[in-house]
């Protein structure tokens, strides 16, 4: 049985019908037509589907669409734009971080929330905050360079 839902994503409201048990990821990708975030595991183990829900990094692949309510969703596309980039996006371009790039939502959306709440973090704090996220291409060293660069930009 489908129900009507209304989601606030990147500042815009979208209405659609869906199975309440359907994970948010499929609503974002298919019902709202946002080709981002990505399906990586469907198990909250990798981070490829990460969005921010009311500012908190959230794995959309296991979050039922019915659990979102009137929470505000921000995706990578809503974090910043080429004209108004988030410092992490600037740093990612500067450091040329991604290889395949499929994992990118997890790292940036998680790091953005972390850097917002933690000024001048240590290397260990950054690593601990990002622990559990997956990158299969092995760009971890570049990710750390970029997060540190963004941390410096954010003061």
């Amino acid at each position: 049985m489908t129900e009507k839902f209304s989601l606030n994503v990147n500042g815009e409201t979208h209405s659609f019908e869906a199975d309440p048990d359907m994970p948010l990821l499929y609503a974002l990708r298919n019902d709202l037509g946002l080709n981002n975030p990505h399906f990586g595991c469907g198990l909250a183990q990798c981070g490829a589907c990460t969005v921010q829900l009311d500012g908190q990094p959230t794995r959309s692949c296991i979050t039922p669409v019915s659990a979102v309510g009137d929470g505000k969703i921000t995706t990578l596309a809503g974090l910043g734009t080429p004209d108004k980039p988030h410092p992490l996006q600037t740093a990612y371009v500067e450091e040329q971080v991604p290889q395949c790039g499929y994992c990118i939502n997890g790292w940036i959306m998680t790091a953005a929330a972390f850097l917002r709440d933690n000024k001048k973090p240590t290397d260990k704090q950054i690593k601990d905050a990002l622990s559990g996220l997956k990158c299969r291409c092995g760009t971890h060293v570049a990710i750390l360079r970029a997060v540190k660069r963004a941390a410096a930009m954010m003061g």
Binding site: R29, C46, P98
Partner: protein, 770 residues
């Protein structure tokens, strides 16, 4: 931004061109039947005959198959290989810009679309520049030669008196006498015949009459130009193959058996009748579902009631895997490489023999996302979006399984969710095709995580038996290296044949498993030397989750874990410094140079291993390993910390010296090496396909863990050795292969304990240390 995106876009408007050879002329047809004739322009060509208004056939012997000058003066380079995330297209763009004398940002590289590029082998064997770049270089050089000849005609001057600056041909003595590339040919096509060697794939080579530039004159090649695909990825503007949608598309999911080898004997369609639009597609062993929405397809795949055949569990106890390899009769044995002397006789005279065995598990590609493909069949014409590394081969596979002419199949490579060899992408394309044909609609298939990790083709498990004979003075007089393993090509490295894909195998294709492995690549000179491999049959011959194929640097990490660990064992047995020992026997000057460069950068202090100055639970060590790979040389030094109580290894620092001949883009190369090293550490410390007697049981990131960011080295120092005079060899894989041995040697240095089995997971290391 916009410019960045256009560089990666596909020329979707191109339709596949077909041609037939008639008496002395080519008849070319494009979409609507436009037909004309022209003579080949390779003999005493006039400038007018060098270009045509309709693109010649997309064949390897036509310059237009690689290079086009557009009306706005930009250059399109059509590349039959593709970038898996290391920025290959930037390097290719640099090569093309260099040879054509145009600014780099005027070149757009289009990759891996079977309608716009010839089969240059796809992403394969680190040959993007070694083979693919080589071809693009001669094609671009020939394009420049032709353009200068056309300009000579137009300006009424000898070609020798002309030069090119930023895409404008002008008199060397008078810049006012000029004509631009765009004016000469913009919007038209080269009509130039190349001297094609008749081969497709990696060995394809089709030079023209032009000589490429002397590397000493390069100004664009060698520059650290940044990638243009980063920003689109960072701003969520990059479409992956998972993101492609077409009108009328439905979603598919595949259903795999719980016991490998079982096939459906009864499928209960009524079990999914409550899901709107859901439908099962069942043919022999092939079973999938489709539904209008992705979530419905997923639910249907979980809900469908299936009765499976009573298959006998096909696999041995995992603890017995390496014994199985040792005991099973080999299907093929090959002695390869540079052999010397008589090894067996030399061992009879040995004063001392050192022998060891090393073991490497099955490993999974475990790409970041499970594979996805979309197939649309209309009026006998097939369009497929795939992340496969080898779209031209996928084209052949789809033609075969759908029984349509290959010319009716168009495969559009679109970046996939990570790719490190023959992963699950080729299987997904075939599954999508079978489903699309069955339901008469475009079908997008994405596997679920447990299928991506559980059912991708695996890197082969292996046992390596190594021995050395020493004389009374401690000289190595004989070396004997044997790998015994599952084949690297149980299923082939591309999806061009249905029998190499899951769909083909489940639909009853006659099987044709290949045999292949490899030998160490180094330049150790011993008076008597033998390097050999043997392969054994697969554990299950059809539709096996343990079928084996190419995983990044296929069999390189396995072999060099053994060979370079063993060199350390011999050095330690002789109480010699590990580098000093290697340099006694390594003969190739470039090999010696990378070893010395790594040692210098890491401030290597000469002493034997293991260290004897450490007490307590936390100990540290350093280890070196080196290898060649198809012309590239890599030496690397690992520095590790080990907690003896937990068995946890922390790789603190890596130092890499890398020589791949001429460096096209040093920044891209550096990042490629970093990725190789980190992925190599992951494979060494954590990665092992687990299975029980029924099936693979490592099916997600918990059961198939990879390196976490908290375990990443703090520092990876890279020394790039540039040889502009040596044509580039590969970089996509060589720095994967010495990683495991460098770590193993560092662990030995720290603890005095030799770890001879990958992965070095804490429990295993702890047991080994106690």
């Amino acid at each position: 931004m916009n410019k960045a995106i256009t560089r990666m876009e596909r020329l979707a408007s191109f339709s596949r061109r077909s041609f037939v050879k008639t008496s002395g002329a080519l008849v070319v047809s494009i979409g609507a039947p436009v037909t004309f004739e022209f003579a080949r322009a390779d003999d005493a060509a006039t400038a007018a005959a060098m270009s045509v208004t309709v693109k010649p056939a997309l064949t390897p012997d036509q310059l237009s198959s690689y290079i086009a000058v557009n009306a706005d003066g930009t250059i399109s380079a059509f590349f039959g290989k593709m970038d898996m995330g290391q920025g290959l297209f930037v390097a290719v763009g640099q090569i093309v810009a260099e040879e054509l004398d145009v600014p780099f940002d005027r070149v757009n590289v289009f990759m891996g679309d079977t309608a716009t590029s010839v089969n240059q082998g796809g992403a394969s064997g680190s040959t993007g520049l070694q083979e693919g770049g080589k071809q693009m270089r001669v094609a671009a050089a020939e394009a420049r030669r032709v353009l200068v000849a056309m300009a000579a005609d137009k300006l009424g001057m000898p070609a020798e008196q002309l030069t090119v600056t930023d895409g404008v041909v002008h008199a060397a003595s008078d810049a006012a006498k000029k004509v631009s590339y765009a004016e000469l040919i913009g919007g038209r096509y080269f009509n130039i015949h190349l001297d094609w060697n008749g081969k497709y794939g990696n060995p394809l080579y089709a030079p023209g009459k032009a000589q490429p530039k002397d590397p000493k004159t390069h100004t664009i090649v060698g520059q650290p130009i940044k990638r243009q695909d980063i920003a689109p990825k960072v701003f969520a503007q990059q479409d992956f193959c998972t993101d492609i949608k077409v009108p009328g598309m439905v979603h598919g999911r595949m259903i795999r058996p719980a016991i490998a080898g079982a096939v459906p004997v009864k499928v209960d369609d009524s079990s999914i009748k409550d899901i709107p639009s859901a439908k099962a597609v069942w043919n022999q062993g092939f079973l999938g579902v489709v539904a209008d929405s992705e979530w419905d397809a997923i639910k249907a795949s979980q809900q469908l009631k299936v009765e499976w055949s009573d298959a006998k569990p096909p696999f041995p106890d995992r603890a017995a895997l390496y014994d199985h390899i040792r005991k099973t009769a080999s299907r093929r044995r090959e002695v390869e490489g540079k052999q010397a002397g008589n090894v067996d006789d030399a061992f009879k005279t040995a004063a001392r023999v050192i022998a060891a065995e090393y073991e490497w598990p099955f490993q999974s590609h475990a790409s970041m996302g499970p594979a996805c493909s979309l197939v649309d069949i209309k009026d006998g014409h097939v369009t497929c979006w795939s992340g496969s590394q080898k779209p031209h081969f996928v084209c052949a596979g789809l033609a075969a399984i759908l029984q349509v002419p290959e010319d009716n199949v168009h495969v559009i490579w679109t970046p996939g969710p990570g790719s490190y060899g023959r992963n699950d992408a080729d299987d997904a394309a075939m599954d999508a095709a079978v489903l699309a044909k069955a339901v008469g609609k475009p079908v997008r298939v994405q596997y679920m995580r447990n299928q991506g990790t559980g059912w991708d083709p695996k890197g082969p498990a292996s046992v390596h038996q190594v021995r050395a004979a020493l004389d009374a003075s401690g000289n190595v007089i004989a070396y004997d290296f044997l790998s015994k393993a599952f084949s690297r090509v149980d299923v082939d490295t591309n999806g061009s044949k249905p029998y190499d894909t899951l769909a083909g195998q489940m639909l009853g294709a006659n099987l044709k498993s290949g045999d292949g492995f490899g030998i160490p690549a180094e330049s150790y000179e011993f008076a008597n030397k033998r390097t050999a491999w043997e392969v054994i049959p697969a554990l299950l011959d059809r539709a096996s989750p343990l079928r084996t194929s190419h995983l990044r640097d296929p069999v390189g990490p396995q072999i060099h874990f053994a060979s370079e660990s063993f060199m350390d064992e011999v050095a330690a047995a002789l109480n010699m410094d590990a580098i000093e020992f290697r340099l006694r026997y390594v003969r190739d000057p470039r090999d010696i140079a990378v070893i010395k460069a790594a040692a210098e950068k890491a401030n290597w202090q000469s002493r034997p291993s293991p260290r004897k100055d450490q007490t307590g639970d936390k100990v540290s060590g350093r280890g070196i390993a080196y290898a060649q790979r198809n012309g590239t040389r890599v030496a690397m030094i690992a520095e590790v910390d080990i907690d003896r109580r937990s068995g946890k290894i922390s790789v603190r620092k890596f130092t890499v010296a890398h020589d791949c001949g001429q460096i096209i883009n040093p920044d891209g190369l550096r990042m490629t090496i970093e990725g190789n090293v980190v992925q190599g550490i992951s494979r060494t410390l954590w990665e092992e396909v687990k299975f029980d007697n029924k099936n693979v049981t490592s099916v997600d990131w918990l059961s198939y863990p990879i390196l976490d960011i908290t375990e990443t080295p703090e520092q990876i120092d890279v020394v790039l050795i540039n040889h502009p005079e040596i044509v580039p060899s590969g970089a996509g894989e060589p720095s994967s292969r010495p990683v495991a041995a460098a770590i193993a040697n560092a662990v030995f240095d720290a603890t005095g304990v030799r770890i001879r089995r990958v992965p070095f997971a804490p429990d295993y290391v702890k047991a080994a240390l106690s």
